[in-house]
Amino acid sequence: MFAALANPHRFLAFSRWAAPILAVVATGLIAWGVWLGLNVPPDYQQGETVKIMFIHVPAAWTSMLAYACLGGSSFISLVFRHALADAAAKACAPLGAAFTGMSLVTGSLWGRPMWGAWWVWGDARLVSVLVLFLLFLGYLALRASIDDEAKGARAAEILALVGLINLPIIKFSVDWWNTLHQGDSIMRAGGSALAPVYMTPLLLAGAGFSAAFGAMWLVRIRAEIWRRRANSLALQAALA
């Protein structure tokens, strides 16, 4: 699968139908999940704010998926030197940052009525997502500040890998820090004991967000392939 897709032509042929299919699947899943989510009975603790969960948690899941994809592509690009893997890493980062940003804002809008504050440092998950957002920003900043494309790609890959190794430790450290500092226990939906009425729409929307990320990722990789082709053609034309 991977070896076959490493060829840009085959990737273009594959993504030509894979991206629209994923987009349709994503639309259906998100519509279904959000519809079910909007119709859940109000939670006895959270009231109607529980409806935010069905977009907040999927965005957070997708942002982590995006970082995993970024790290994985970077690793493949670094080890096997596939140009396509670098295009994939480059295409991944803005989407990841956008999903992370969405997760932060919706989490804050959920937190205001629940905790009485727009931001609560006592929630480890929010803090981890914030650090993830900063990691994406660092990646984008490094990539944007290096003019030489090949060098920028390689430096960004190394950074993505360092971040990927660090990410579980960051997650652990923030969780651990949170258990030490938690004054009063903050109940948070999304834990293990979630009723099926809430779990089903959450999983549907989560799958839908992931599929949407996949579809947009494929299209962005296509755009990057065309961009490189256009640049090399322009260079050829200039030299001819």
Binding site: N39, P42, E48, R220, L233
Partner: protein, 63 residues
């Protein structure tokens, strides 16, 4: 589950009920919508621009 759909309006109204938390629920959905619209537009426009550019250069070379 909350309504037995006899009237489509009632079903939609039930889904769009957010009680006193409406001021938080709908901005959250709005932000998510804006995020998706931005991502889709940026992605599609980028792909179209570069595809056209590549095609044009390809044709120019062909002549």
């Amino acid at each position: 589950m909350t309504t037995s759909p006899t009237d489509a309006h009632a079903v939609v109204a039930g889904a769009l009920t957010a009680g006193k938390y409406a001021a938080y629920v709908w901005p959250a959905y709005g932000v998510t919508l804006v995020g998706f619209v931005w991502m889709i537009l940026d992605t599609v426009l980028r792909a179209r621009t570069w595809r056209r550019k590549a095609d044009r250069l390809e044709q120019a070379r062909g002549h």
